[in-house]
């Protein structure tokens, strides 16, 4: 099996690589269209800011390539947000794979933003959570979120309910960081790689 991590200005993806190493998976880290198209599985990671990431994807024409992929694709964190229609962060038009707009968390007394730490996810409707107990804990760090929508296949609640996992056709996405979410995150990655 041949797995690709998409290379772009998405900050530090070292922990994603190490997570794949722990699962014994071979991968390449590349922005080559040919390699990405030829992969069995594609991981689209991301930490950082949406508008500069999107600008870079456009420059490299990855914004057209990614939505056209046919194999299973997994976006994480900012990667997930870039797969949505639009993000309030930097007023950014995104790739539009998931028909939902990314919003900043509303302000509420007693709730800090970013949403940082371990939170539980529920209402599973995806093969990715196959081995997880209901209310499994995963690790989040984000200030923007995709509200619950038709593509939501796992929900989390912080100030408001929001999408923890999205799924549409061959596209999967996680708002949390599977790679540092303990055994729960590892199982989700494993399920994705076995799709």
């Amino acid at each position: 099996m041949n797995t690709v991590i998409i290379k772009y200005n998405a900050g530090n993806v070292r922990s994603v690589m190490y997570a794949l190493d722990r699962l014994g998976v071979n991968y390449s880290y590349t922005d080559s269209e040919e390699e990405i198209r030829g992969a069995d599985k594609v991981i689209f990671p991301g930490v950082g800011e949406a508008s500069s990431a999107m600008a870079y994807l456009k420059e490299k024409r990855l914004d057209r390539l990614i939505p056209s992929l046919r194999q299973p694709v997994l976006g994480t964190c900012v990667g997930m947000q870039l797969m949505c229609r639009y993000s309030e962060e930097g007023d950014t038009r995104c790739m539009g794979i998931f028909d939902v707009d990314v919003r900043r968390f509303p302000q509420q007394e007693g709730f800090k933003v970013p949403h940082m730490g371990w939170n539980s996810i529920f209402d599973y409707r995806t093969p990715l959570t196959g081995e997880l107990p209901e209310n499994a804990y995963v690790y989040f760090v984000h200030s923007y979120m995709a509200p619950v929508c038709e593509h939501t296949v796992a929900t989390c609640d912080y100030i408001v309910p929001f999408s923890a996992l999205l799924q549409k056709d061959n596209f999967y996405a996680a708002q949390f960081h599977c790679e540092i979410s303990g055994d729960a995150g590892q199982k989700i990655l494993e399920r994705f790689l076995k799709l």
Binding site: G11, N12, R22, V47, M116, Y139, D157, G182
Partner: protein, 258 residues
């Protein structure tokens, strides 16, 4: 529900943990990687590795250690100790650290916080604040920021500095009370509550953990988002699974792994 976090802290010198560690089930108590993995398996929510090495050679060893930790631990970890530049941070993040913490260098040059959060994102920039309650004028006592392991007072008031680091882009504050550190008499609840209650970013309380009840207090009265401790975990005085069981019974939201 977003849980409160339990964070063991490991002091590392020349790549090895220094505080006497007495874990019978570890082959090598000084092995910082193995110890980190053990804590992760026990349900620690994050780890902090502090490099207390003074030499340049030791720094290289620490970088190797960070790589090994990142390879073998599947929870987030923060590294700190002597970080003073974008270059330092870049090397540590590249080695696989999830967050870095700055302390003295940020006090010396506050613009460093802005620079780091711009370059790497607030989410990975922790500002560590060491504080002590001291007499600043005859009969006048204040919480004052200290550097050099809490030995040297600065002109900065702790509450003001906490606000400033947030404004400059810190993603999290690691607040250590040098008054309670090592006492095992409990965290500095009032100060932690004053800072965490008004901060828009998470606050990790540190210094003074001695009993499970102390953790409960720092999350309720102290309003902390996370609590850090070292020796009580290293010496096995409090085991993380039992601590989490206890805190769950006290209605503190905890991530359970078993």
């Amino acid at each position: 529900m977003l849980t409160k976090r339990i964070i063991p802290c490991l002091d590392v010198k020349d790549g090895r943990t220094v505080k006497g560690v007495n874990f019978v089930n570890l082959r090598d108590a000084g092995d910082a990687v193995e110890l980190g993995r053990l804590y992760a398996d026990q349900g620690a929510d994050e780890l902090v590795y502090l490099d207390i090495t003074a030499t340049v050679e030791g720094r290289g060893t620490f970088l190797e250690l960070v790589t090994k930790v990142a390879q073998s631990v599947n929870i987030p970890f923060t590294v700190g100790g002597g970080i003073s530049s974008v270059k330092d941070v870049s090397a540590l993040l590249h080695a696989g650290a999830d967050k870095i913490s700055v302390n003295s260098a940020a006090v010396r040059e506050p613009g460093l916080i802005d620079e780091l959060s711009r370059e790497f994102g607030s989410q990975c920039i922790v500002v560590a604040i060491d504080t002590r309650f001291i007499e600043t004028a005859p009969g006048k006592y204040e919480h004052i920021v200290h550097t050099h392991g809490g030995r040297r007072p600065t002109p900065a008031g702790t509450l003001e500095w906490a606000r400033e680091v947030e404004d400059r882009g810190a993603g999290e504050i690691l607040l250590t009370s040098m008054d309670t550190d090592g006492t095992k008499a409990g965290f500095a609840l009032e100060l932690t509550a004053a800072i965490s209650g008004s901060a828009g970013i998470p606050v990790i309380a540190s210094g003074g953990a001695g009993t499970m009840q102390h953790f409960c207090e720092v999350f309720t009265e102290g309003k902390a988002d996370a609590a850090l401790a070292a020796s009580i975990f290293h010496f096995g005085e409090i085991a993380i699974p039992e601590l989490k069981d206890y805190l769950t019974e006290q209605n503190i939201p905890m991530r359970r792994t078993r």
